[in-house]
């Protein structure tokens, strides 16, 4: 009874407050595991992009005991020498588990415009992708995406923080 009263009161308040302009979409606000559904995903098209089978990325873990991140120098999109062992470990894991897919997330530090930084993060993710492919991982097991500057790993406006944010993360 009380619950019904509460809901009724809430709905009454809601109707009083809602104006005609904007409707809130009832998007679930909980975290979702990544799923690449929707228009355009996995399409074959005239430019010959490989048909990506969208395994539920984010539903598993990658190689155990291996870092899932590599870092980049300022204004650089080159995989550093010290990152090679990490990349090789992930390459071996993907070759041994052919049904698994890795999402490579590129990131930048907080300086600069959002969309341009999205493209720079994409460059970093694709550099790691190329390294994996050169090591023999099929392209179809990898998707390179970017968060630009939207998801810093470290807060702060100094080089210590910036260095931690210029990175590519491996997500499985």
């Amino acid at each position: 009874m009380r619950k019904t009263l509460f809901v009724t009161a809430l709905l009454a308040a809601l109707l009083a407050g809602c104006s005609s302009g904007v409707k809130l979409n009832d998007v679930p606000v909980e975290d979702k595991s990544a799923s690449t559904s929707g228009v355009g995903s996995g399409q074959n098209n005239a430019s010959g992009v490989a048909n990506v089978v969208t395994d539920k990325a984010g539903s598993g873990v990658g190689p155990a005991g291996v870092a899932h991140v590599v870092f980049f120098d300022y204004d650089s999109f080159v995989v550093k020498a010290e990152a090679r062992p990490v990349i090789e470990s992930h390459a071996r894991f993907l070759q041994a588990n052919k049904q698994r897919k890795a999402m490579l997330e590129g990131h930048t530090d907080e300086r600069g415009g959002r969309e341009y930084n999205l493209a720079l993060g994409q460059k970093r993710a694709e550099a790691v992708q190329r390294a994996l492919v050169l090591l023999g991982v099929p392209d179809s097991q990898i998707e390179a995406v970017s968060y630009g500057k939207e998801k810093p790993a470290a807060q702060g406006a100094d080089e210590a923080a910036w260095a931690k944010n210029r990175r590519v993360e491996f997500k499985y």
Partner: protein, 419 residues
């Protein structure tokens, strides 16, 4: 059901969270002194129309509000001209709001030319209580057009994003930042909202699927769908003037390149083929060309090419980092952000001459967007350590801060004139 309740709770708390106060700074060349008297009946109504109108007019940079000193004026008054001239007013607005039996409000107003001592024009509007703010903005547009000859842009909407406690919300608000309603709430970032030409939809980039995906979202119904989720990143949506396609940055072919996406079919056709990054497309005022950002020359600069794709010509030549082009709808100006000495500063270029000027004294400016009458620019910046939205006149002289509570505020886009 529970999800619906959560969503609606968010909507109810929305306007409270996003209460803005307008702070206007700067001195303009010619500001007409205008007195806007409190409306008869506004004390008993949910909205104080006179204050909304006066704030709009002051934010335009072309008017200075004169204190009405408690003098009662409505549309039937016979103003005391010498008294108003003594108060230095050149124009006077007075009116009334009457609540009708069906709950709607009847708004009436009159505009007087104080200098000539003449009744200039009369305004009438009838609206439900929920639309009172919009009526005030329409009244401000009417005053603005009567006195400047230019259409106002106050009865328009802006979209923007806030981030608070690690959560992101996409808001739709009046052009003064007030009356905000949430269109989307997400634990993952939302960027690059872009109004459709008819003002009914927003395209935006959402990371809720753990990658950047472009959505098209119908504001009135909340219905939305994925427009672009190709392999890799999908971002920077810009509507074509006919509303039937969008230009966007896709990485599906590798790198970041511009594509035209048909809204109905979702099909994408590539427009650029550079070896660098091409992003941030923005249609020219007449719709025949696209401004965009490219680092094909080694660092990000603004270029322009035919809207169908084709040879691009470089537009910015000062400095090594020029991004975020926003052309004015009248074809005269290009607003953009330039990095100078490590600071990100909003500039305005006179397109015909190519001459540019910085127009702010802040150092982290982002995302300029012109009002549909080309007279104001909204942009995001950092002031006193917090992200804020500002409006500026095109010459930079008059600025207004739309000060927000409840989190950092960014990514503004100014919507079109509402029919």
């Amino acid at each position: 059901m529970f999800r619906f309740v959560i969503a609606c709770l968010l909507m109810l708390t929305g306007p409270v969270m996003a209460q803005f106060r307008v702070e206007v700074t700067g001195v303009g060349m010619t500001q007409m002194p205008i007195a806007v008297a409190p409306f008869k009946g506004e004390n008993a109504s949910p909205q104080k129309l006179a204050a909304i109108v006066q704030a709009d007019l002051e934010r335009s940079g072309q008017f200075k509000g004169i204190d009405t000193a408690g003098v009662a004026v409505d549309e039937l008054s016979r103003p005391d001209w010498s008294a108003w001239r003594q108060r230095s007013a050149d124009a006077l607005v007075g009116g009334s709001m009457t609540r009708l039996a069906d709950g709607r409000y009847d708004i009436r107003a009159r505009l007087w030319d104080v200098v000539k001592g003449l009744d200039k024009a009369e305004f009438r509007d009838t609206v439900p209580a929920a639309d009172l703010r919009q009526s005030a903005h329409r009244l401000a547009d009417w005053v603005y057009q009567q006195l400047t000859g230019t259409p106002g842009a106050f009865a328009t909407r802006i979209a923007y994003v806030t981030k608070a406690a690690g959560r992101y919300t996409l808001w739709v608000a009046d052009s003064d930042g007030e009356g905000a309603q949430a269109a989307l709430a997400s634990p993952e970032p939302i960027i690059s909202p872009s109004w459709s030409p008819n003002g009914q939809q927003l395209a935006y980039v959402s990371f809720e699927s753990r990658k950047p995906v472009i959505y098209v979202h119908e504001i009135a119904t909340g219905r939305r769908r994925v427009l672009a989720n190709f392999r890799g990143s999908n971002s920077a949506p810009a509507w074509a003037p006919d509303g039937r396609s969008l230009i966007a940055t896709l990485s599906r072919d590798g790198g970041s390149q511009l594509f035209r996406i048909d809204v109905a079919s979702g099909e994408a056709r590539r427009l650029t083929t550079s070896v660098g990054i091409d992003t941030e497309p923005a249609f020219s005022a007449d719709g025949t060309a696209l401004y965009f950002v490219s680092d094909r020359g080694g660092s990000p600069q603004i270029y322009r090419m035919p809207a169908q794709g084709g040879p691009a010509e470089r537009v910015t030549f000062n400095g090594s980092y020029n991004i975020s082009p926003s052309p004015s709808p009248d074809g005269r100006w290009l607003a953009y952000v330039s990095r100078i000495g490590g600071q990100f500063k909003l500039h305005v270029m006179d397109i015909a001459s190519g001459q540019s000027s910085p127009i702010t004294d802040t150092a982290a400016d982002e995302k300029p967007s012109f009002a549909p009458n080309s007279r104001l620019i909204v942009y995001a910046t950092v002031a006193q350590g917090r992200e804020a939205l500002m409006t500026s006149t095109v010459d930079g002289r008059i600025k207004a801060r739309l000060a927000g509570q409840g989190g950092d505020i960014r990514e503004p886009d100014w919507g079109p004139v509402r029919p």
